[in-house]
Amino acid sequence: MNFLSIFVLVPALMMMGLYVSKTRKQIQFVTATGASILMILSGVITYMYLSERAAGNMAEMLFTADTVWYAPFNIHYSVGIDGISVAMLLLTSIIVFTGVFASWKIDPLPKEFFLWYCLLSIGVYGFFISTDMFTMFMYYEIALIPMYLLIGVWGSGRKEYGAMKLTLMLMGGSALLLVGILGIYYQSGATSMNILEIAKTTIPIQAQYYLFPLTFMGFGVLGAMFPFHTWSPDGHASAPTAVSMLHAGVLMKLGGYGCFRVAIYLMPQAAHEMSWIFLVLTGISVVYGAFSAIVQTDLKYINAYSSVSHCGLVLFAILMLNQTAMTGAILQMLSHGLMTALFFALIGMIYGRTHTRLITEMSGLMKVLPFLGVSYVIAGLASLGLPSLSGFVAEMTIFVGSFQETDTFHRVLTIVACTSIVITAVYILRVVGKILFGVIQDEHHKHLTDATWFERLSVVTLIIAIFALGSAPFWISNMIGESVLPVVTQLAK
């Protein structure tokens, strides 16, 4: 236990605080305080990380700590962060923070909602600070289950179906994953489940041939890789706002992060030889998700398919196995996390007012909801990769990186993936055109009120983050770039 664990402890303390709080005021106080503390902490950790690096500490992971947990299985509670984790922690904090405000007036059962919400964030934070496969897996699963209740109780639409589907499919992913993890541990002959330790060993290539697909698919399910993505539309569509935000914004990143940390890092040979299979699949995801999004009429479905496309790009880039593309992948995680959270927040807010998510039933909302409308446009622009917003940097890094692979196969796939930016434009503009522009058709929509202060706070925070990432990507890009290096080195072996 070192101070990194505070990221897990704070939500746990929040849970305790929530448990004793009685009124809505108290609940709000607890969650807001906790979320703010987490924000500050992640800022602090970023600063500490950067200054440590600047001081010349070139260890692969910083602030590591290692406590033996289950000695017979060599399970340790080991934590540590590199640039990627730092980036992810930042992302998580931002989204947890904004999620709290996006569900400021959640009803019914606010206490329970935030209890689960905190548990969810424990899982996410824990995942990003862990370096031990067991701990990682544990946190991963912790993050899965609250989803069911969060969606099931506070969701909308076909929530029970969506919740069940999401939970079961992700559980399926974790089934693949667990076999993979056990396989890696035993086949590597390592004396620890710590990733860094295992990386020092070599897993026999025969074992890699089945472990790599297992782990990659396992994480890939969470990363909404084709054809295991169908939980995403149904799940996101029925989830309450904050949950969609956290799930699409952070949880889906667990997939990419895991693929990167476990599948690629530990099994470089298999990654080299088998990446083409998954490249094809993720390539399909990218284009397929985008095309699917075009014809959807439900805002959340559109965004969910868009997430399929964008997260597909993350995995796609990871599989390119070079530093630039991988950096791009991580950037894309950040970027997608922020903007999809923004999207879901806005969709939730719009839905809260219009009580519909069908784009056919809305129009001209810009007039009555200027703040939300403008924010939606910004989110859309971020999504279609407008320079100065986060999406651009990420996508460009990915494309430039992917193009470093010289053979025709990679080239063609890269170009195919590039087309997604056009398709993205198509569906984003379609939505924006339909719901925000034009004349208001529905009488009820004429008297809608624009965002409240807490909604504004949530939205503005996200927008600022998107702008910050898009306009000043260099420091974070460098931070990630150097943290990707160990993996690249591993691949070069």
Partner: protein
């Protein structure tokens, strides 16, 4: 020349300020802020231009100045996006053009857009556009250009869709964005190709003429074509999209849904020439490493030019006429670049193209602003609602006429000079192409005067609805007059002293044969137009009937839009997306649900085993035992 940074930065600040304050500001204040910022940067760019062109030249060649340069994102060891300012003759020229037109448009808009809802927003967007466009032209590297390229696209989207409650405007904005976005895909992939082999984004390195930069491209081919052809061809697609080259021109006519000053600024003077600028920027690369692509550009330019000119002849919406005219003129510029070689005389086409870009920006802006003035007066875009306006709007009338003469290529208006150079270069490249271009020049003169006469001549009875049209206020007239003056005199600028393909001085000599021929064609065409449109006449109708097929096709813009609609609605939406969505729902998702279904089904099917009969339990028990024993023993 550090202060050039201000030229870019001030509009950005203005945008952010106006955008955040939005309706908290009084409209008037917003207009003043926007316009004055533009005024300041216009002054700054003039200063910069003056300073630059009077600077000491090294060996007779203008120096490339890079007053600012920072690394923004690093991709690989070699590839990094930098943000910087590159000053060389063409960028300086573009600075001047953009700031001038922009300033004029801002000034014009304070009056034109008076009372519109979202006035502040309008000025914010204008600032954003100016910022992006300036950023584009001063880009030091191709990726920076791409960045601003995209921003320009978005500002264009926002401005076209300014009247967001109007469905047609929204659709037009969407279309413009998506079409150019599609082209940008080519641009992007082109950049990827180019940068991968040259290991740089930097214009300075790319255009330095150092063969080592391109060493690794030699002999490398990708799917049959050499990589440089791929790279430069794809990059050109990006340019073609922004510059509305065939077949990507479709967005531009629709873009006229935006406010007219916006059309003047973006869709006449600045953004649409970005493609030309792009090709010009990379001209040395095209010239040396992808001459085939360069020639292709010439032919595409020529075809587009002809195509658009024909359509322009039959359009009835005045802004659309101007839009097609713009397409046609950009085609000219492209031809100019396409036929050009590198170096002094060889580079005539390049120089001419840039020159035409400059003059065209002025007179086309003038035309649009004039049209705006007319529309302001009659509240309609359709020619049939106009006529006889010369009595009511003298300033508009004269300035419009000047612009028409300029675009028709009548001496001594600026259009004559620039167009003439292009024709001369084209004839040198290929007489056939030259001939075609001359015909187009004739068509240009024809349709411009058709337009002119339809608006200002003929009977004025059609617009007697609520009020008689009157001349526009001062804020609108001043830009008209200013631009008219520029249009008249710009032709005498010794352009070859400033902008050439090799940055060295070049003196333009008029090629008299070409000049005479083109002027006579123009006059002839104007004559026909006068005949047909000065007064109410049956000839157009007869002509229309005679060539009904052609007329109809041209009126319908040769059905290219229909083809696009077919592709988007039928192919993409109906035959790709809908099936994919269906597939997703009924195959992929159904498979996942199917697992659950099969499990449930099995569950129902095997419930008989749990019959409640203890003897059956024992039976299964015994069977289990025997089977296990048998398996253990015999397998």
């Amino acid at each position: 020349m550090q202060y050039t940074l201000l030229i870019v930065l001030l509009p950005l600040i203005s945008f952010i300020f106006l955008g955040l304050m939005d309706s908290k500001l009084k409209p008037k204040v917003a207009g003043i802020i926007g316009t004055s910022v533009l005024g300041i940067i216009t002054a700054l760019s003039y200063t910069a231009a003056f300073e630059y062109f009077t600077m000491h030249k090294i060996a007779g060649v203008y120096e490339r100045l890079i007053p600012l340069h920072i690394e923004w994102v690093r991709f690989t060891e070699f590839l990094h996006i930098d943000l910087g300012i590159l000053l060389d003759p063409i960028s300086i020229m573009m600075l001047v053009v953009i700031t001038t037109v922009s300033f004029m448009v801002n000034l014009y808009s304070t009056s034109y857009m008076h009372g519109e809802k979202g006035f502040q927003r309008y000025f914010a967007f204008l600032s954003l556009f100016t910022f992006s466009m300036l950023g584009l032209v001063i880009a030091t590297n191709i990726f920076q250009m791409y960045i601003f390229w995209e921003l320009v696209g978005v500002s264009s989207y926002l401005l076209i869709g300014f009247y967001y409650t109007k469905p047609s405007a929204v659709a037009a904005a969407k279309k413009a964005f998506i079409v150019t976005r599609f082209a940008d895909l080519g641009f992007l992939v082109g950049i990827l190709f180019l940068s991968f082999y040259t290991k740089t984004f930097d214009f300075g390195i790319l255009t330095s003429g150092n063969p080592n930069v391109f060493a690794s491209t030699v002999g490398v081919s990708f799917m049959g074509l050499s990589v440089m052809s791929w790279a430069m061809g794809l990059i050109f697609i990006g340019g073609a999209g922004k510059s509305a080259m065939f077949p990507l021109q479709i967005w531009l006519p629709d873009a006229m849904e935006g406010p007219t000053p916006v059309s003047a600024l973006i869709h006449a003077a600045t953004m649409v020439v970005a493609g030309v600028y792009l090709v010009a920027r990379l001209f040395p690369v095209y010239e040396v490493y992808a001459p085939d692509v360069l020639h292709g550009i010439a032919y595409i330019g020529a075809f587009t030019s002809l195509f658009a000119a024909v359509i322009a002849c039959v359009q009835t919406d005045i802004k659309r006429v101007l839009a097609f005219s713009t397409i046609s003129q950009i085609g000219f510029m492209m031809v100019g670049l396409g036929v050009s070689g590198y170096g002094a005389h060889e580079g005539l086409g390049y120089m001419a193209s840039m020159f035409h870009l400059f003059t065209h920006a002025m007179f086309k802006a003038l035309l649009f602003l004039g049209a705006g003035s007319v529309i302001h007066a009659v509240h309609s875009n359709e020619m049939k609602d106009m006529g006889g306006l010369r009595k009511y709007m003298p300033i508009t009338n004269y300035t419009f006429l000047i612009a028409c003469l300029a675009i028709a290529g009548i001496y001594p208006f600026s259009g004559f000079f620039s167009k003439d150079e292009i024709l001369a270069a084209t004839f040198e490249f290929s007489p056939y192409l030259g001939g075609v271009m001359s015909i187009i020049a004739g068509l240009t003169a024809f349709y411009m005067f058709r337009l002119y006469y339809s608006i200002f001549w003929g009977k004025g009875h059609k617009h007697a609805h609520d009020h008689t049209p009157h001349e526009s206020p001062l804020a609108m007239s001043i830009p008209l007059i200013f631009l008219a003056v520029v249009t008249i005199f710009a032709g005498f600028i010794p352009f070859g002293h400033f902008v050439t393909s090799d940055l060295a001085n070049y003196d333009i000599h008029l090629d008299m044969t070409v000049a005479v021929m083109s002027v006579s064609i123009a006059i002839f065409s104007i004559g026909i137009a006068t005949l047909m449109y000065r007064k109410e006449s049956k000839i157009p109708n007869i002509m229309g009937k005679t060539f009904s097929h052609l007329h109809k096709s041209a009126s319908n813009r040769f059905y290219i839009d229909e083809v696009y609609i077919f592709i988007t609605k039928k192919i993409i939406f109906k035959n790709i997306s809908t099936p994919i969505a269906w597939f997703d729902k009924h195959i992929i998702d159904a498979t996942m649900d199917g697992f659950a279904g099969v499990t449930q089904w099995t569950s129902v099917k095997i419930k008989g085993f749990q019959s409640g009969q203890v003897q059956q339990y024992a039976y299964i028990f015994l069977l289990g035992t025997l089977i296990i024993a048998a398996l253990v023993l015999f397998v």
